[in-house]
Symmetry: C2
DNA sequence: CACCTCACACTACCAATTGTAATGTTCGCA
DNA sequence: TGCGAACATTACAATTGGTAGTGTGAGGTG
């Protein structure tokens, strides 16, 4: 399975995951390989949460392919299948492709506006890349 | 209400709508203001479909703000609140902004690759726009 | 005038997704 | 040898989208 929806009314990891899923991924991405208990304890620091709830969601994340589960004796250790950077890289690439594929020229028109608003320096960066690409040929 | 999610595993209008919703929007965007019956008849040409099913989904689309409903005597006429062009414009803009906001420089790195793959001419177009923007200042 | 039909409203059910949690099972160790 | 921790199984609730039955009201026709 994979991520197949990008939520426009959320932000951060919540764009890709449900709220509990997102908190779990956040923990796993900012720490070492962990057992369910470890995750549950960390979550419980903010909000009491049932162990089984955490287990269910984590196993679902395994089914989705974003977590890897490994048996270590009688406990299971979990870690993301991709680093956060890889994940964002993959997602942003996929979304960029999808956007271009779906909207083509329309998106090009927005890119500059969006870039300027987000960070004008990015426009420079983009131009550099275009120049580099041209030289290549 | 509005569109909250962009599906990466679908294409076309199905990225924004459920399958039946998408077919309904397609019809409404490619024809005049219509009654439920009109839409149902058109849909039924491909697949038998219950009048009430169509009505329910169309009313939900009104709730979501993508259709406008207008009483004409005892029948209701429906039409999109935005033209298809406006809708795609809005969506692509929103998504582009979201993407930049969420990923910033990461997306810039992908844009060229994506552009090149989608249509190399778009890169030209983008460069033109950058030049135009520079002159402006 | 009674009635029938048609358009619409209301309500409900199903499947999938996500959060929640009770109950059941297994296995190591005290 | 039986307890407790970790895991498995199962299920329920809310939400979203597809489906459709039943109820209501208004207009035309016999």
């Amino acid at each position: 399975m994979k991520i197949h929806s990008f939520k426009t009314n959320e932000s951060g990891l919540n764009r890709f995951f449900g709220p509990l899923e997102a908190r779990i991924m956040h923990i796993l991405w900012n720490g070492p390989e962990m057992a369910i208990k470890d995750v549950q304890v960390r979550l419980a620091k903010e909000q009491a949460i049932n162990f089984n709830t955490v287990m269910t969601v984590m196993n679902r994340l395994v089914d989705k392919g974003v977590l890897r589960k490994r048996a270590e004796g009688r406990i299971s250790l979990f870690q993301p299948t991709q680093s956060l950077e890889q994940f964002l890289e993959t997602q942003s690439k996929e979304l960029t492709n999808d956007l271009l594929e779906e909207f083509g020229p329309l998106v090009v028109n927005h890119m500059l506006d969006a870039l300027e608003e987000a960070d004008p320096a990015l426009i420079e960066q983009l131009e550099q890349k275009i120049q580099a690409l041209k030289k290549e040929r």
